[in-house]
Amino acid sequence: MRRRERAPEVDRTFWALRNVSFAIQPGERVGIIGRNGAGKSTLLKLLARITAPTEGRAELRGRVGSLLEVGTGFHAELSGRDNILLSGAILGMRRSEIQAKTDEIVEFAGVEAFLDTPVKRYSSGMYLRLAFAVAAHLEPDILLVDEVLAVGDADFQKKCLGRMEDIGESGRTVVFVSHSMPSVLRLCERVILLDRGGLVADGNAQEVLRTYLDSGLGSAAERHWETPELAPGDEVARLRSVRVRDDRGVVTEELDIRRPVSLELEYWHMRDDEDLRPSANLHVTNEDGVVLFATSDFNNHRWRETRRTPGVVRATCHIPGNFLAEGRFFVLAAISTYNPTRVHALEADAVSFHVVDRSTGDGVRGEYANAWPGVVRPMLDWSIIEPKPIPLSGADRQLG
């Protein structure tokens, strides 16, 4: 699959996917992982026949259903009922099939009361539930799914995942592209790892995931782009590097829960316009796909008012110790300007790091040894009013 990149000056031919061969047996559930630009989505689009390859061949035996987006073909003006018909037809269902399944779909989505309301008046949750419900009742022999679980709340995601498990268990083949490692682990027994358009590993889910996270192919603690041409960004700003450092300034992937963490972002600011003030943004996401927080360097007020000159900017965000929970975190890095808001560079999963709790009584969880709940684990201030010693007899008197 060849796609022409719109590079600033040179016209380079870029192979989004090359020399990738594999066979998937009926009933297998296969996850496809790899960082952004690895070729995952291209692979899925080829299999789904949305784009055509420049060379190579794929054979799919059976009816193919693809789910590259939740709510494809939904029309805001139409009622829920109408959208079930429309979306079903778009996803490849026959009219009779949709009519037979309408009740089931409505029940799954839980929108009975609003079936004749235009979906533009739906809450976003209802909209998503209905959209997924239609897709979930497709009965293809091969189901191709792209990252659709990245939307919606945790309950919704759980429901989707459950439904996909059912589809897999009923003997259908599922090919699933995702960034969410827990989802891949739960759903797939086999994982294919892609990188830069090539196949790197293919096998047992646990093992391939470990390869991915350990090899640095997975978002490791450092990403660096040699030249602006290769870096994500546009004519205003391009990312140069993203790093995770511990409190001694060492680039590391494994961090102690008690110590501060620094996220450092460097970018090329290329536009000589004093009023254009790019800011660096970071989103920190945990393994379940929950965004813990988003932060921007405009929180530094002095910097926000500073007039900019072209050059390399380094912005560092300091996360205190005893704040993050245990586990793996993924960092999205972006450069944007405001009024109007424009995102100039964006790299999802730019880096990742792992926070471990080795505290012995001095951490947030103190002496408590079992799993400590919460998406963050901040050390908070407590104020205590200590009991004044009260003579027992006096207390008796007050009670009496």
Binding site: A52, P53, R63, V64, S66, T72, E77, L85, L86, I90
Partner: protein, 280 residues
Amino acid sequence: MAPERAVAPSVVVVTPPRGWAALNLRDLWAHRDLVYFLAWRDVKVRYAQASIGVAWAVLQPLLMMVVFTVFLGRLAKVPSDGIPYPVFAFSGLLPWTYFSNATGTATESLVSSSNLVSKVYFPRLAIPLAALLSWLPDLLVATGMLIMMMLAYGLMPAWTTVLLPVFALYALLAASSVSVWLSALNVAYRDVRYAVPFLIQLWLFATPVVYPASLVPGRFRALFGLNPMAGVVEGFRWGLLGRGHPPWALMGVSAAVALVLLVGGLYHFRRVEHGFADVI
């Protein structure tokens, strides 16, 4: 319960597109339910929040008829083959309005459905085809209006009125012959969307909508038929009013031109459709 799975599962083979692929209209037929629902959506959405709803289908040609009647019928005294000018103009404006609306929306259809094109597979032809079909109900409603108008002028519809579906198909053929080209070209070259409304405006005057084909000297008549819409409009008018000789020559030439354009357009569409998702 349904024995659908009894058949051996079909094999889909994904390979690079090679030159002039076969038309593969069978795939389009397999997706006929989708074409139906897309057309149904277009109709439903078009009048969803319009307070006078489907009356727009009649209002548009009606108002144009009034304008042409005043300026061409009364002031310029354009001949109308012995038919009262308002009826004459209205009977021409119906297939014309169909053509101009259908071609306009079909041209834009792929681009305005880019979310579908880049996310789901189906024969891309389904989208412009649905857009073309979605204007047929309007044509039907407006034709009902025309028949009432004829009765008001004391004109009885000719027996050939029962052939109305054939004339509608003929209009569909003419609109498709142009739209398969324009919709596909519009994906890569958005210039098309700016050129089309202008083109359609000019086209109106190259078509015997507000003047009779008989105004064109006989030796140019066949040449005139090279415009696929010439035969459609004259045919439609003859079909409903039944005045004069049936315009066989004109209709024949127009239909042949439309067919050639359509087949060429279908091959062109087929050749470029696999790239739609990348360029849209």
